[in-house]
Symmetry: C2
Subunit: 255 residues, 2 copies
């Protein structure tokens, strides 16, 4: 019997999100569990660091699970990649201590949100970015973002999945233009926190884009945090990329 | 009666290339001509600056065509975007002189080729880049690229579609790592020339990647140009992006 940890990449376009659902809709969890059943002959349940939305992508989803028999992780990774559909890849696999839990052991998460900011309709990035037609004011968005940082109640931008509390430590929001990509009209927002509320990245980016369009003042961030003002719009899922999940070194080392 | 010029973007994944084919396979040309027929009520033939391969993309394909009646170009652009499938977008439309020809009037073309260079299997970029597992030596590839520049017979890297001559002026090859994209493991090759032979970008990139992997010496470029050595491999189509087509100002100004 062994606990394992894997890092996955997937293109969320063809999935109804991470979480397996009754009714057989295509989800990432169901596809990976199916591949594990084919490769190992065992029915296994995956725990994911974060349950990504329908249409959202991941460059570094981390999962934990248990197998009844010992398998060499690198060989398991290769076998899974042979069985998985083309829109999911196992980037790495490793043994983990019994205490490791992909969600509860995580201490820091990062997400990227991609905006294609140009007047013309999108074709190549249509399922991979939010298409915003009017030019965005990056300085104004950065000013608004800076007001959201730190440990605070972020209930205005999402909710705790377990309904406990909405205090999170939002460590950084970086906004930059990707030079040399699509003529410089692609913007990336990168957010890092100890944990995220449900919908938090999409609501924060939705708010920042409203600021960038001049429809809100940067100072409204503080009012929203105080529970005032109108709720921010939710940025669409297809621009969202789960980037990485960080664990304390001790959580990864087998005892 | 009026001549028009349009710039298109498309995701080539779902197409059997640019050129309309008998048998009804899905091609970009056929889709745009179909949309034009719906919007204008006229059967129109498009001329493209370059006929992209099956699976290759475009960020700036230029087409010319004639309509029997006068339509306001910006309105035509919007109507076409309403009718076209999501993987094609008309970026701009403008009136053009009668003498304008998307292919023959062009004086310079640029292509980008994208390589995902990492050991792990690709998921998000699986249809949008060439996945090369072993690390590429960028300096060696740049050294090889510099030997290909200038006006010369490039018949070792492609063929003239009309079978005339293979002399082209390859003005520049830029190779850079896209920082901040996919953890820095994405490389972009950008090639600019007066015109390209059929297969030329994919063969040059195929050769440069062999150099980057250490399987060829940079100096083999000169031997290939002299008609010696073994033919370079052809890089797969899904990494190829037609970037832009340049025209002399006079070709664009209505007489």
């Amino acid at each position: 019997v062994g606990k394992l940890r894997m890092v996955l990449e997937y293109d969320g376009t063809g999935f109804h999100g991470w979480q397996a659902q009754p009714g057989g809709r295509r989800t990432v969890q169901a596809e990976v569990e199916r591949a594990l059943a084919i490769v190992t002959g065992e029915a296994t349940k995956l725990v994911a660091a974060g349950r990504t939305d329908a249409g959202a992508h991941s460059l570094g989803q981390t999962v934990s699970f248990e197998l009844g028999r010992d398998l060499e992780p690198e060989r398991l990774r290769q076998s899974l990649n042979g069985v998985l559909p083309r829109d999911i890849a196992v980037l790495s696999a490793a043994a983990a201590p019994d205490s490791f839990h992909a969600r509860f052991s995580a201490r820091r998460r990062s997400y990227r949100y991609v905006v294609e900011n140009r007047a013309a309709r999108a074709a190549v990035l249509r399922d991979r970015a939010w298409h915003v037609r009017s030019p965005l004011d990056i300085d104004a968005m950065r000013a608004a973002a800076s007001e959201l940082l730190g440990r605070r109640d972020l209930g205005a931008f999402g909710r705790d999945p377990a309904g406990r509390n909405d205090v999170r430590n939002l460590e950084s929001i970086k906004i930059r233009r990707l030079r040399g990509v699509a003529d410089g009209h692609v913007l990336a927002f990168e957010l890092t926190a100890d944990a995220f509320l449900y919908g938090m990245v999409r609501r924060i980016v939705g708010f920042l884009v409203e600021v960038g369009l001049g429809r809100r003042q940067p100072g409204e961030a503080t009012r929203l945090l105080a529970g005032e003002g109108t709720a921010p719009r939710v940025a669409p899922a297809q621009g969202l990329y789960q980037l990485s999940v960080e664990y304390p070194a001790l959580a990864l080392v087998a005892a």
